[in-house]
Symmetry: C2
Subunit: 215 residues, 2 copies
């Protein structure tokens, strides 16, 4: 068995999605003064590698603490949209590009899209011109009723509202700003258990890929 | 397969360990005003169900982002110190009580202690008189070099410093304030992947037990 961390580190002051709170991660107690180290951290619910619950964009949408854990653990498929490379700034992802990988988009499936954009993480450039699903591509995925869509971009689309509504409205959970997708084989087990913020729209996740390897 | 959530919910204003920051979990953007729901949350690194990295009590101790994921995922054993009941306020856990379960404490093992104290979670009473390892019991565990010690109490001992130093000093990771231990069989797979706070002492965790069940 081999584990691959699919999570970006959370650091004090790292860039947030425009309009979101800037993360603060600061010592609250120290060994020298208090006899132990303790941290106070504050951030938005969509900082770093994180999960979108339906309540993020839907009035009556499910909240993150209510998502059945079974949806967040199990077989997953990598769909690599730029093998060996990366989609460029402003790239669009069309239904035709997804159609080449149609067999991955089964009802209930967990699908992670790799564009190579994760290399911008930690810079404001991560949020500027990330590869974007067209609304037709978002609807193409929603119609297939997959269970979870992961991606290395911070959001599925440059114009987030309509794409989020289409996907979350079809009960497709979104796992955003995933790291290290280049390290993955096509098939793996995903664990993406979110922080248990009661009644809220989403939280950071420690996402991990579990690979069975011959020992 | 069946998943059991071992995690307490994180809620605004819930009691914290005395001296720790009180958690704040508040709407930051709302559907009505912004077109989406977003939360700002702030808390201490040892709020709710959480992991202690060695750096919590050791100057040169490992930080949470550096813990190999393999230590946080795999076979685990429940040690029930109060089958069908609960240890009372002020109870002490002695080496003799652990000796009855000595076979669970193999080098590298993941061991979760159930005392029944988790029922106090969410009340200030959770932090008042929780069952406590004696320093001899903490040293008994440390000497066995297990890899991870979980528990339903907020801390391994009423006098935390010496017990933490003994356990973290022997590289025994601590998983504290675990929920739902009564739902577990003796053997299960534990996943306890922590929030990836870079360079820090510990963070909340979404801890999950994975059971293989005949389908």
């Amino acid at each position: 068995m081999k584990l691959i961390d699919l999570t970006h580190p959370l650091t004090d002051g790292q860039p947030a999605f425009p309009g979101d709170p800037v993360p603060r991660i600061r010592p609250f107690a120290t060994l020298a003064e208090n006899g132990y180290n303790l941290t106070r951290f504050a951030m938005g619910s969509h900082q770093g590698t994180h999960l979108d619950a339906p309540f993020h964009f839907l009035r009556d949408g499910g909240t993150v603490d209510r998502i059945p854990l079974e949806r967040l653990y199990g077989p997953a498929t990598l769909v690599d949209l730029a093998p060996g490379g990366a989609l460029g700034k402003g790239a669009v992802i069309t239904p035709g590009m997804l159609q080449l990988h149609a067999s991955a988009f089964e009802p209930g499936a967990r699908v992670l899209l790799r564009t190579g954009w994760h290399e911008q993480f930690g810079s404001p450039a991560f949020f500027d011109g990330y590869p974007s699903l067209t609304i037709e591509a978002a609807r193409w995925i929603a119609a297939r009723k997959i269970g979870l869509l992961g991606m290395d971009m911070p959001s599925p689309a440059a114009d987030p509202a309509e794409a989020h509504q289409a996907l979350l409205g079809a009960d497709v959970l979104l796992l955003e700003a995933v790291a290290n997708l280049a390290a993955l084989p096509r098939r793996f087990t995903l664990a993406a258990f979110p922080l248990k913020l009661e009644g809220r729209d989403g939280p950071p996740v420690r996402a991990v890929a579990i690979l069975d390897e011959p020992s």
